[in-house]
């Protein structure tokens, strides 16, 4: 009953996950993380990939949305000259530099705004769905 509510809810969930990724990026502007081989690497931004959710498809062609995966960026970190830092690079052309995360704060904030706007639009759609269902009850007088 009322697949529109399910579809809008799937969008709310997806946008919330996206907002979580943005919060994670903004919180870890300056942190390091341990990668697969056990080394400390600078934090890389996380981003989500949206996909249409075929499980929620109705006969009329309306589909929901789901988060297909959360990916990690692979961009060049920022380097700062700190030769006495415990995590400074020991050898190579970047000797003495420390690698810091290269999170683009402006892009992340814009992403958060877009996610909020989409969230509100979906809440509006849910209000209309609810209203429609309640009005339909009036057929019974």
């Amino acid at each position: 009953m009322l697949p529109a509510l399910d579809i809008s809810t799937s969008a709310l969930v997806a946008q919330r996950i996206r907002l979580d990724a943005v919060s994670s990026n903004l919180a870890n502007l300056n942190s390091l993380e341990r990668d697969a081989s056990g080394n400390m690497q600078p934090y890389q931004s996380r981003y989500v990939i949206f996909q249409t959710d075929e499980a929620l498809e109705t006969k009329q062609g309306a589909v929901g949305v789901k988060v297909a995966s959360v990916q990690t960026e692979q961009i060049e970190p920022l380097y700062r000259w700190q030769p006495s830092h415990p995590y400074a690079i020991k050898d190579g052309p970047k000797k003495g530099y420390v690698a810091y995360p290269n999170v683009n704060m402006t892009a992340e904030m814009v992403d958060a705004l877009v996610a909020t706007r989409a969230y509100e639009a979906n809440i509006g759609a849910m209000e209309l769905s609810k209203n429609m269902a309640q009005q339909s009850l009036r057929i019974l007088g």
């Binding site: 579809i7 996909q51 949305v65 209309l128």
Partner: protein, 137 residues
């Protein structure tokens, strides 16, 4: 006799309008949900196409004295009713979508008004029939 009770009113046609309005509402909600999905193109149910079909069904039901057949709002993929009105088309963004959020919300509101209108008129017709049957004004 009893099935012909409703054929002289507009109740069958209005029921079809209600079905269409609810189906279209779901499709528009799906559009709004997928506003950030890469590669998602606008989907819609064409209102002019539906109205054309309804007109033909009403004319057919008048000549054959049968009810307006249900299932007018049903469409397969590739159905002309599923084409998107050209004024709703938007330019394609870099992530291969073409959804304009404001237009979708506006379409949803208009659809909602149509739904409420059809609902109110249908309720009114039912009440008229009831007052005729119960002889109570």
């Amino acid at each position: 006799m009893l099935s012909g009770l409703f054929n002289s009113t507009t109740i069958p046609a209005l029921g079809e309008v209600l079905n269409f309005a609810q189906a279209r509402h779901t499709v528009l909600a799906g559009n709004i949900a997928n506003v950030n999905t890469p590669g998602y193109r606008l989907r819609d149910l064409s209102q002019t196409e539906f109205q054309q079909r309804l007109k033909e069904a009403i004319t057919a039901s008048r000549t054959s004295a049968q009810a307006v057949s249900p299932g007018l709002a049903y469409s397969e993929p590739g159905d002309p009713m599923r084409q998107v009105r050209s004024s709703l088309e938007n330019l394609v963004y870099h992530d291969n979508t073409n959804i304009d959020l404001e237009k979708q919300v506006a379409e949803m509101t208009k659809n909602h008004l149509l739904h409420n209108f059809a609902l109110t008129v249908m309720t009114d017709q039912f009440q008229l029939l009831q007052s005729a049957i119960s002889e109570r004004v």
